[in-house]
């Protein structure tokens, strides 16, 4: 397996075939990647992002796991992919010097590749959707608890006598 450091994917165009070719030859998911679309016109950008989403979905890849695929663009765009405005904004964690790994590092890379394959083989879209669904009820529980806390504070203010006064009386 290759060391998981950033790889830039170069698109030849925004058409489905061009993107399909690039995605097929890439290591999306196995290493962190990025596509620089800063020089694209808004229409081309939207088309490229839509086609990229379609190709990624068909290839059963996930835009964030195990390794993310970033899109670099200065224009606002609605997409499944994480977006940043420039290469400098990409996480520094994945910028490392390329060097030949020694035996111990090769062992670690083998372990890493097993984990990456295991995560890639999961039904990531289904799991993430389940997580999103559960987050709705969690939010409801949060708002209910917040309201209950307010009522409990009000209740104690109205019905519980302050301790200092009870001490004075006793």
């Amino acid at each position: 397996m290759k060391i998981p450091i950033f790889e830039e994917l170069l698109l030849k165009g925004s058409s489905l075939q061009d993107i399909q070719l690039v995605v097929d030859d890439s290591r999306i998911g196995k290493v962190p990647c990025y596509i620089n679309l800063t020089h694209y016109a808004p229409n081309d950008l939207e088309a490229a992002v839509m086609n990229l989403e379609q190709v990624i979905l068909e290839a059963a890849l996930h835009p964030r796991f195990p390794y993310p695929l970033y899109i670099i663009t200065t224009k606002p765009v609605r997409t499944l992919f994480p977006t940043v405005r420039s290469v400098k904004e990409l996480p520094e964690h994945y910028f490392k010097k390329v060097k030949r790994p020694n035996n111990k590092e090769l062992q670690l890379l083998n372990k890493l590749s097993l984990k990456v394959d295991k995560i890639k083989n999961l039904q990531l879209y289904k799991i993430i959707q389940e997580l999103r669904d559960s987050s709705d009820t969690q939010r409801r529980l949060y708002s209910e608890t917040k309201e209950l806390h307010f009522l409990e504070v009000l209740n104690s203010a109205l019905f519980e006598k302050p301790k200092s006064k009870t001490k004075e009386r006793s």
């Binding site: 890493l112 295991k118 997580l131 209740n155």
Partner: protein
């Protein structure tokens, strides 16, 4: 403009500040102590670079292990044995009881809220 003492670049200001000590520094730069010190520094930087990749891969291993546990164990556990709905029901029951208790207290004509409201209204519209 910087000048070189041994293999170290020194700025012009620092170099001027060292005037009068050139001979001492030249002797030191040529000495075995200085060469030994430079060799050690080079080795240390090499070792640092060597372990940087290993450390990075270890971090990635632990990150992916945590991600795997999250995706394969924690999320299914939440989905199959979620307590959230039950907790919401308990909270709602408790809220209902408290609301009834508080509203009963507040709607009494001689309650502190009613008294304060009456006082406020009287002071403004009397």
């Amino acid at each position: 403009m910087s000048k070189k003492i041994g293999s170290t670049n020194v700025s012009k200001e620092v170099f001027e500040g060292l005037k009068g000590f050139e001979d001492v520094f030249e002797d030191y730069v040529k000495s075995e102590d200085y060469k030994e010190h430079e060799r050690k520094e080079r080795d240390n930087s090499k070792i640092g670079e060597q372990y940087e990749l290993q450390h990075f891969l270890e971090q990635e291993n632990s990150r992916l292990s945590a991600l795997e546990i999250f995706l394969t164990k924690k999320i299914p556990l939440i989905m199959n044995f979620s307590q959230t709905e039950k907790l919401i029901l308990i909270q709602m029951e408790r809220k209902k009881v408290l609301k009834e208790k508080i509203s009963a207290e507040l709607i009494r004509l001689d309650s502190p809220l009613q008294k304060n409201l009456a006082q406020l209204m009287n002071s403004h519209f009397a």
